[in-house]
Structure formats: C-alpha cells, structure tokens
Symmetry: C2
C-alpha cells in the first residue's frame, strides 16, 4: 500500500467523551469514527485490524473442526419466545417491528436460530458431533454505551455452538474449543489468561473466560503464579485464613464506639487491627409470588472487617435461589432494633438467619456491632457468647491469600474477550431439538456455546499495550506490519528509489508494508505512525544513505538501529519475528 | 475438506413456496435455510459461495483503488433526515427505536453515513479523488419478500461511494468503477451485460446496470448484437418505424366495431393488420398541492396497436414532473364522453393534451377509437382529420426494431446484480459536504455510488445455469471446485488410498477439493454432488482401478472421461481451466 493512495487521517486531540486509552487512541489514529452512541464506522485502518483478528479466529475455528455458516442479524421473535429469552432478556435486547407489525430482534447471540437449525438438520447420532459458528454483527442496546469498542452497541462477535450426543461428548467439544481459544489468543500476540468463570443464569457445569491482561480491565482475575489455577474473582474460592479457632482470652464487653459506623473506624478507635473486626451485611429474600403466607426473610452475613462480600457467592446460598436484595433501613430497624453501622449477631430484636464467612467462623475474641447505636462488643466468641454459626465462602479473594493447593493467590485485572460455556440441554429442551440416538430413540442434543468479541479484542489489545505516543500493536493484528518512511526524497532521488526497493522487496516476502510517499514533514510522519502503532518503521534518509545505512526501529524499542542498505530487508524480516 | 467432517444435508423436495429455480435449488442443496420471510441462514455450502463472490469483488475494488471500511448496520435517523430520505424512502426502510426511544434505521444503503464521514474527513482537494466501499449486511423491508435470495429482506451488498473535486473527476471515477465491474463479473464466470439505465429519482447524468443474463430475469435488456449498444428497456430509445408519412388514400369513415374494445379485436373484425391501429392511453396529472386553482390535466397518449407504453419515458414528458397516474373511468367519461375501449383523438368531449408516439405521428390511414361506444374511425390522417400531433418516444423497444446506428435491436432478459450511478452533489448538498478547492474556497464534493448485490449474484448464477439435476456453478464461485468420489472402498482398499492421494495432490495445487469419505451409496452420492453443482467430479472406482483408470466428469459435460490413474491430477487441473 502507498500512503498517498490510502486514507490516513489522525487527530491531534480526541473528543472529551473518550474516557479510556483504546477509545482515545483508536479515534485519534483514525481507526474508528462515531456514528451514534455505541455505534462506529471502522475506518480503513481499523477495519484492517478487525479483519486480521477475524482471520486468525476463522483459521483456528476451522482447524478445530467447527463449520462456518452465517445466521441473520434480524431474527423472528417466535424463536426467542420458544427459548423464553424474549421475556427474560432485559432492555439490551433490541426488539423491533417490521412493516407488518411482526416482532423481531437484532441478535445479541444466536442460540435460538442455531438450535432451530439443529433440530431441522440433525436427525441421527451419526451426524454428531457438530459445531457451527459464524462471525456476524451483533447488537446489544446498552443503557449507557461507552469506552468505544469496549462497550459498544453494534459489534462483531464470533459465536460457535456445539452439538453432541451426550454430556461426555459435549465436554470433549468444550475442551476442543478451549484449546482452540488458547491458540487463537496466543497467535494474536496478547498476554491473556483463561479463568474459570461463573456459569451464572445460563447454568451448566463449566465455563471459562479468556481475559486480556490490562490494568484498566473491569474484571478481577485470581491466579496462582506457581500453578495452573486461575479464576474470575466472582468464582474463585476464598480460603479460610484461620486453621484452628483459638480459645477465648477476653470477656464479652459492651464497648462505646461513638460515631464509628464502619469497621475501619472501630478498629482505629479501639487501637485494634481491622482483622479483629467483623462486619455485618443484611440481606433480604422475598417470598415466591404464589406463596400467600410468605414472609420476607432477613439474613445477616458476617465478613471479616477487611474482606468484601462476593455477591455471586451469596447468590448461590441455599434459600437464595430466587435472588436476594439488600435489606431496607426499615427492615433493619425492625429486625435488629438498631440503625446500620452497629449491627451484629448478638441479641438481635427478632431472629435472623446468620451465615458467617469461613474465616469469621474461625475467629475468636472478635469485635462486632452490639445492635445499639454507638456500641460494639469486644471479646465476642462463638459457642460462648452466641451459637456456633452456619458458615460459607462469602468473600472475594484478597491478593496474598493462601492457595489450599500450595503457594499464594495473586490478582490482576483483565478484559473479557472470550467465553466458553457448557450449556447442556437448556436450549435443546426449550426448542425440543432432538436426534435419534443409537438405540433408535429421540434424545436431546447436548450443547456448548463459545463466544469471542472480535471488535473488543482490538480495544483490549490497545489497553494492554500503548504508550504516550500511541498504540503499540502486536504484529499479528497491526493494520500494517512495516512502514517505510523516506526522508529528504526531494533532495536525493536515491531516497525514493531505495524506499521503493525495500517496499517491493518486503511485499514480495508476504509482509504487509506501507510506503509513506506523502509529501509531509518527517516529524509529522513519524508521530503519525507512532500513534497508529505500526510495529516496525524503516527510515530511508538522505543523511543515512550517505553512510550507506537505513534506520530500523521497532515501535516497542527505545531507539533505532542502523543497518547497511543492502541488509535492510533481511534485518526487518528478522526483527519482525519477535514483534 | 472431507465430507464426513462437513455439513451436507440435501433435500429431495423443496418447500412449495420456492417459486424460482435458484430458491428451489439452494434450498434443496442445503445452501440456505429460511429463518423468516426474506431472511435466511447461509448454511456452510452457501456461505462458501457468498465468500468467494465477496473476495472477487474485494480484490477488484482494491485493484481499482477503492478503500474498504465498514459502516454500521444501525444508523441514526438524524442523518437520514438531513438527506431527506427519512421522509421520502417508503416502507422498505425499516425504522426502529432504541431503548431510549431514539430513531434509527437498518441501512438499505449508506449514502448518508459515508457523506457524513466525507464531510468530516475530507478537508482539501489534495485528498481527492477518494472512493470508500464496504461489504455489509443490508435490510430492505420488502412488502412481499420472495424468490429466496433474489428478493430477500436481509442481504449482503457491496456499496462504494466516490468523492471528487468536480464533474470531470466524478466521471473518471465512474469510468474506473465501470471497468472494475466489467472485470468482476467477467471473473465470476457469468454471462452478463452492462446496460445504460434510467437515473430515476436519484438524478444525475449517467447510470449503468450490470445484468446477469437469464430467461427468468425481471428486466428486459435491449441490445444490438452488432455494436456495443445495450440499455435497459426502461431507457432504450425506440425508433420511429416509418421514415416518411404516406399521403392519405382513404376517407375518414366512422365504422361499427361492436364488442371490440381492444386494438387486437378491431384489427381482427376489420381484417386489417394490428399495425394499422392506434391505441389510446389516458393519463392524468394532478395539480401541485399549493396550486389553489389547479385542475387535473387529462392526457391522451397514442401508441401503435402492437406497441406497449413505457411508463419511465412517459414520466419524463414535460408536464409530468410531479408524476402521473392512469385516469379514472369518471375522468375518461367526462373528457371523452365515451367509455374506455373506443377512445381516440378525434372529437373529444373536452380538450385533452394529445401526445403521439414517434411512429404513430408518422402513420397515415390509421384506425382509432371514435369516442362513441362500439365505433372506430378508419382512414384517419394527421393534418386532414385532426391537427398535427405533439410527438415523443413513448413505447418499449420491440425485438427487431431497427437501430438508427445500423442493424437491428434484440431483447433478452436479465437479473440486475450491479448498478453504478453518477450522483453529482445530491447528497453532498443536502449534508453540506464541502472541501477547500485549489482556489481556497469551499466546494461541494461530487459523488458517485456503486452497488453490487453479493448474495443476489449467487441466485442469479443459478438462474443462468442449472439443469434438471441441480446447480451448475461456474468454477469461480462454486463452493468446492472438485469432488472426489470413491466407489467400492469397502471392497478394495486401493480405492480409498488413491482417492486420498488425488485429494491431497489437488489441495497442494491450491484447488478447493472435497473428498466424499461418507459411507453412502454411489447413486446417492453422485446425485447429491450434481444437485450441489460442483464443477468437476473425479470418480475412483473399484472397477476402473482394475483397468488402471479413474473417471473425470465436468458437471456441464454429458459424459465422463476415463484417464489413467497417474494422470488424474493433471487431467483434472487441465479440465478445470475452462470451467
């Protein structure tokens, strides 16, 4: 490509609304342009990145035996009603009507359509396993789209769906996809981590997320640097930090703690470590709608003062099947006879269901609210001052927590770019997608689903790797691999000739090169390519040529290297290998 | 590809709703599956065809210097209001609302978004010419979607938009696209014709359609087999068939023609050729809304009895700028004092505006309605019996019409798969897309737009080439180029080995081959591949191998050719060259 024949239009400043690096840099580099909130045009440079990601994903999906098809963007409501998602999916599902007032959706995923295909196409166990995927435009009507491609409304996603005879087959299909994802993110040149993830409302027994490591990520990833263990903090088991509960040493004392409605303030007032305190979190579960006599049930969850509640774990407690909410102040006053800030498990006004985090259940001589405004108990002990508690893992892992299998847990931030899911028969049951099994009887297809956020990957790669000059693309997804910058071509015609030679030579070697043949100042040219983030720059300068050299600089290197003109191509190819 | 790892699912019968060959065969061959009216899933085989077409289009667009980007499917109403198309575009434009009740459209084309990009990105004449294109999902909410991919609602289209400094530049860009389209349709292996087309409501001075020749096409194409001339019948000039008007020989006679309200019946009753008759067509033009005193104006258009009115041509008559309609029976009675069927230009009840087709204006001694039920005039002559008429080209060309530039005109049917358009400043004016010209002053961008119906091409190719066994793909867009069919592999292990050898050998040569390693009967296998339409089949049979031969059969050939096993690959490569 010659820059003069291409469209390059960088901006000095990004619009104020660009809050994150990827949004700011993709806008400044001219890779995307906003059309409406969460809806973008991929400009030529941005589309090249998108296509490269798509191609890697496609190649690896094909290699793994998945078969590409293309399901439509606009899907009929009837199928979504069959699966129940027409009702259950929130406002992010864009529901539309055609000219005849028939209901449709803009697809956010395609479980319904692919299951409909499966029930029509798969007749016999002989056709299994089967894995269909497509790379297609998705739409999610985010309430507040932001962060550019990180949380857009219209985006490109690869979604695959596996169909198997039984659970064992479905697990095997899941493993094949897991391995394919490992290869994909490896080939894309990203630092990433596969983490066990919550199966959430989709159910099933297994789920993994693929997370691009970046300080700006919204997800917290728990891992053990010494083992293979890695899980989203939502799911990661938090160990009990106290092996054996110590014998009580203190008496239970009602202690004045004026204006100390938080554990941090109590610990400070009493001169005790925060880890001696226990915090009280009051939740409520509502009765089922058909339960006429049903009462709201109030729960007291206890966590060590320095720990945080993990709401996903709370949601899995027995009795929380229909969901939970935080109790209202009125409910708290009614149950505890006290305002929030001084609540505790001893002497509640009414009986409440108490669940202690595993660590809290092993504490002794702890400090907790006294259900009296301005007072806490010190020296509280299980068994002596209050009954032995029911206990469960309620908290988020904290960096440094011991891993029960050895070593310690660490935490880093990530951006979710892939998710694999064991679905079981959730959709095949709803849509009655059956096949004739070896015994000649109909059986439900066992399914898995596997997503990759194609457009999100481009943003995640930038969040992971950029500097104050701009983007630093990994070679695999850079819009161009090499840029050749002639400097002083108007003074010395050899500059243009040699630039052209190197450009054509690299192209012949299959390298995606761009020759910047525009008539612009070198400083502007360099700054533009640093912003765009092309991994390797070759500068062919009038001055260098006098010494018989050109300069080669990797975007990620601090300085350029001079190489003899005749070795330029070989040196560039060599340097590219590790970019 | 191995068939056992792929998804092949053909149907013996197509659903009753499949009215045309392409819809029927794509459904039977398992290339598409209906999701809703006019909305289809491209199954794996169908998607391969789609992608091949896309790739040829992309390569040629890039070669022609167009730059690919990707504009969104969901576009904000504001831009469509700026262009005026929010109001003017009919019900085919699917207008939707997001969760915040803001208006959007599903794009049928992207003139608005691309012009918005241009007004933000193009600042200077130095950036011109520029041509942006994308290959994207389109949506047109057809009132009655049918014929499968021929008239779907969701479909894939390539649309390109050129931007130039001035009209001359825009014409040059148009010519470049015209040539690119010639290469594209040539490479796709289709019999096609570029025809001059009506510019319709879009305006501008030039437009060409690219038509795939097929007897089932909806468009009529007029061409001269001896010259380059070709035009859509909508636009094709119909010559005057009479060089000099002859002197009158007959008297004007009021002649009874009972129960003969059509020219055919009159000619029959009177024993005269149909070409001696003149038919009357009564049109009405309504006054402008702001024209308080405005009256409906009644027009009488006269055509020779064997000719058809061309409504596009009628729409261009002076006085028809705001459109026209056929007159109501009441209006006809009022103006002519007679029921339809016996109308004519002589002695109308009220004055009407008469326009004769060029040929009619040169007729003499002609037969026309007498404005009296059951009567016609014979021996009517211009100048003598009625005033000399205003005349214009009002009719469709008929096969065999002389071409004023020599030779005769022929007609064939076509399917429109591409359209290039000179737009001028229609959209740049509406959206105020300007650039700074060489004189430093802002000027409006001159535009062209260029569409190709990617998914429609696959259907058009089938309409052009199929037989009673199924599809006959041109090699360039076939889902696979060669299928290798082993026969009797269970009796002779050499069958499998040699099939495998040939398969791998062809793959190495870059041929897209599929090895049918499924355990199915040869008759079923052959019928399936004939239905799917793979251009070349190599049959490796137990019996053939005993003679040391395999059979090679092109899908378009009547019979197979036997070639020695060791020459199979070379023979296949050779035969492929002309497919």
């Amino acid at each position: 490509m010659r820059a003069s024949k291409y469209h390059i239009n960088t901006l000095k400043e990004a619009p104020a609304e660009t809050e994150v690096a990827s949004h700011r840099l993709m806008t400044r580099a001219g890779m995307i342009r906003k059309v409406a909130g969460g809806i973008y045009t991929y400009m030529p440079l941005g589309l090249r990145v998108l296509r490269k990601i798509e191609n890697v994903v496609r190649e690896e999906m094909n290699r793994a035996g998945a078969i590409e098809l293309l399901m439509p963007v606009v899907q009929p409501a009837e199928l979504w009603m069959e699966s129940g998602r027409w009702e259950k999916y929130g406002d992010e599902l864009l529901r539309i009507k055609d000219r005849h007032q028939r209901d449709f959706v803009l697809q956010p995923t395609s479980e319904e359509v692919v299951t409909d295909i499966a029930r029509n196409e798969i007749h016999s166990w002989r056709q299994l396993p089967l894995n269909f995927y497509h790379i297609q435009t998705k739409f999610r009507d985010e309430r507040r789209p932001r962060f550019g491609l990180m949380r857009g409304r219209e985006f490109t996603m690869k979604d695959a769906y596996s169909f198997d005879r039984d659970e064992a087959g479905a697990q095997a299909s899941y493993d094949i996809m897991f391995q394919a994802y490992m290869r994909i993110f490896g080939r894309l040149g990203l630092k990433f981590r596969a983490v066990a993830a919550d199966t959430g409302s989709i159910g099933g027994s297994r789920s993994h997320e693929f997370q691009v490591i970046a300080d700006t990520g919204e997800d917290l990833l728990v891992y053990n640097p010494d083992t293979q263990y890695a899980a989203n903090i939502e799911l990661a088991a938090a160990p009990c930090l106290i092996e054996h509960r110590a014998e009580p040493k203190e008496e239970l004392v009602l202690t004045a703690t004026p204006q100390a409605p938080k554990c941090e303030l109590v610990a400070q007032q009493l001169g005790r470590p925060l880890s001696d305190t226990v915090k009280s979190i009051v939740l409520a579960t509502d009765p089922a709608e058909d339960d006429a006599d049903g009462q709201v049930r109030i729960w007291l969850l206890l966590l060590r003062g320095d720990h945080e509640l993990n709401e996903i774990k709370a949601g899995k407690l027995p009795g929380f099947e229909r969901g939970f909410r935080f109790a209202t102040e009125a409910e708290i006053l009614d149950s505890f006879g006290c305002v929030p800030g001084y609540l505790g498990p001893i002497d509640t006004a009414k009986p409440v269901s108490i669940i202690a985090d595993l660590t809290v259940a092993h504490m002794s001589d702890f400090i907790c609210g006294a259900n009296r405004e301005g007072y806490h108990y010190t020296g509280a002990n299980w068994g002596r001052d209050l009954p032995e508690p029911q206990s469960a893992d309620l908290r988020n892992v904290v960096a440094g927590d011991p891993d029960p299998n050895g070593g310690h847990l660490a935490i880093q931030r990530g951006i979710e770019v892939g998710h694999v899911f064991f679905l079981g028969d959730k959709y095949s049951k709803a849509l009655q997608a059956t096949f004739l099994d070896t015994d000649g009887k109909p059986a439900l297809l066992q399914m898995g689903c596997y997503g990759i956020g194609i457009s999100r990957i481009s943003a995640a790669a930038i969040e992971q790797c950029h500097d104050d000059k701009g983007i630093v693309w990994p070679r695999a997804i850079a819009p161009f691999e090499v840029v050749i910058c002639p400097v002083g071509a108007n003074k010395n015609e050899k500059v243009g000739n040699i630039s052209e030679q190197i450009y054509l030579g690299l192209q012949e070697q299959g390298v995606e090169a761009i020759l910047d043949d525009r008539d612009i100042r070198p400083g502007v040219m360099f700054a533009e390519w640093e912003l765009i983030g092309v991994p390797l720059r070759i500068t062919v300068g009038d001055r260098g040529l006098k010494e018989g050299v050109v300069e080669i600089q990797a975007r990620s290197d601090a300085a350029a290297v001079k190489v003899p003109v005749e070795q330029a191509q070989a040196a560039a190819l060599e340097r590219l290998k590790s970019l």
